[in-house]
């Protein structure tokens, strides 16, 4: 099943930032969103993840198929790496966390408290969470922040594995991950015309 977006408009604080956006993401493919800061990539990803309502347009094949990862990893510093992962696995009704630990090179850190990890290690743990959701569509907002080159390569490998297994990924990132399966989509042309927010509109 594809993730399909038709004539989508997304709004930040009631003000549309992107509009007229359409794309389709097939299983095994990745789509990399590009555009300057503040262009609405985060808002678009949050909307597709179902965290906020779309301003206009349709989203198909999202909902329960989305695994979302943003700047905050939702890690608990007082829980160990294993406990953090196992918690999310249980929430998403999965049981196996070993592949995730392997894929993101977290072996040897299993019993460390998440609070004692370095920024890069935390980030890897946050991304490992994606693998334990068992969901096919990864929606990732700047996933490579605070990762070193080796970790970026490892992350790209994990994404590639996910795609090979029939998953798909929608990413907002500035770094070239070297994914053959990826297409790029520049969101700049879809910048919404300047207008007031819906809540303000009632008063004009």
């Amino acid at each position: 099943m594809n993730l399909t977006v038709r004539d989508l408009a997304v709004a930040r604080g009631g003000v549309p930032v992107l509009e007229g956006l359409s794309f389709s993401l097939a299983p095994g493919r990745a789509l990399v969103l590009r555009g300057p800061n503040g262009s609405g990539k985060t808002t678009l990803l949050r909307t597709i993840a179902g965290l906020q309502p779309a301003f206009a347009g349709e989203i198909e094949g999202a909902g329960e198929r989305i695994a979302y990862a943003a700047h905050s990893d939702g890690l608990k510093s007082m829980l160990t790496v294993t406990e953090n992962l196992r918690f999310w696995a249980q929430v998403f009704a999965q049981s196996d966390i070993d592949p995730a630990l392997d894929a993101f090179d977290l072996r040897g850190l299993e019993d460390r408290m998440a609070g004692t990890l370095s920024a890069g290690q935390k980030r890897r743990l946050g991304l490992a969470r994606l693998m334990v959701t068992g969901r096919p569509v990864w929606v990732l907002d700047e996933p490579t922040v605070s990762l070193d080159t080796a970790s970026v390569a490892r992350f790209a490998e994990a994404v590639r594995g996910h795609l090979a297994a029939g998953g798909s990924a929608l990413l907002a990132t500035h770094i070239d991950l070297g994914l053959d399966e990826a297409e790029a989509l520049d969101v700049t042309p879809f910048k919404a015309a300047p207008r007031v927010s819906l809540e303000d509109e009632a008063f004009l």
Partner: protein, 218 residues
């Protein structure tokens, strides 16, 4: 859902605070009361049920803003919202976790603190019963207040103002059960009302809390 409950309980144990803070506050209130009102046993035993209830309520109030604040800050709340859990379930579990970490210890500590306040022997059972029945309502109502103020910078004071009037019925009936029990009077009517409030809030308020949380995450 159970995973969420277990995680919250584990966090409460590891981070300290959870169990300790409310309990310590409860202890402080009950220890200080006799210094304030005088050591006369008759007076103390008369006000003991009410003091225990007030102490428990304030201790509960103290920890409310922690219900959602930490999960809000580290992004867990966003991630939970995309998880296959109903929001109503999340807020109910959050309230339950708050009750187990704050309410339950208060219930269990109350008889011990009753000794300090010369609670009449007939009162122990009813203080225990009324708190056991009433503190879940305090947690559920408090969760609603916490959901309203999640993400606000100075939410703590606002939370207290919002929750204070909502706590009045629970306090009245709960303290009334304890008082009547201590004086050897019939407790049936206030006990039924207290049970009604607890079950009523538990059944209905999570819907309001979930709606409020969805609005705040938007």
């Amino acid at each position: 859902m159970i995973a969420l409950l277990l995680r919250d309980l584990r966090l409460a144990v590891r981070a300290g605070g959870g169990f300790g803070l409310g309990l310590a506050f409860f202890l402080i209130v009950t220890v200080l009361i006799p210094f304030g009102v005088g050591p006369e046993t008759g007076l103390l035993s008369r006000i003991a049920p009410g003091v225990l209830w007030i102490g428990a309520l304030l201790a509960c109030l103290l920890s409310l803003d922690r219900i959602f604040a930490l999960d809000w800050e580290d992004g867990s709340l966003d991630l939970l919202a995309t998880a296959p859990l109903p929001m109503e379930g999340i807020v109910t579990i959050k309230a339950l976790a708050h009750w187990i970490t704050t309410g339950l210890p208060l219930v269990l500590a109350a008889p011990a603190l009753g000794v300090l306040l010369s609670l009449p022997p007939s009162g122990y059972l009813w203080v225990l019963v009324s708190l056991a029945l009433g503190t879940p309502a305090l947690s559920v109502i408090g969760t609603f207040g916490a959901a309203l103020t999640v993400g606000l910078k100075r939410g703590g004071l606002l939370l207290s103002i919002l929750v204070l009037p909502l706590y009045v019925p629970t306090l009245i009936f709960g303290a009334e059960v304890a008082r009547r029990g201590a004086e050897g009077l019939a407790v049936q009517t206030p006990l039924l009302m207290l049970a009604g409030i607890s079950f009523g809030t538990l059944a209905l308020l999570p819907f309001a809390s979930a709606a409020v949380l969805r609005i705040n995450l938007r």
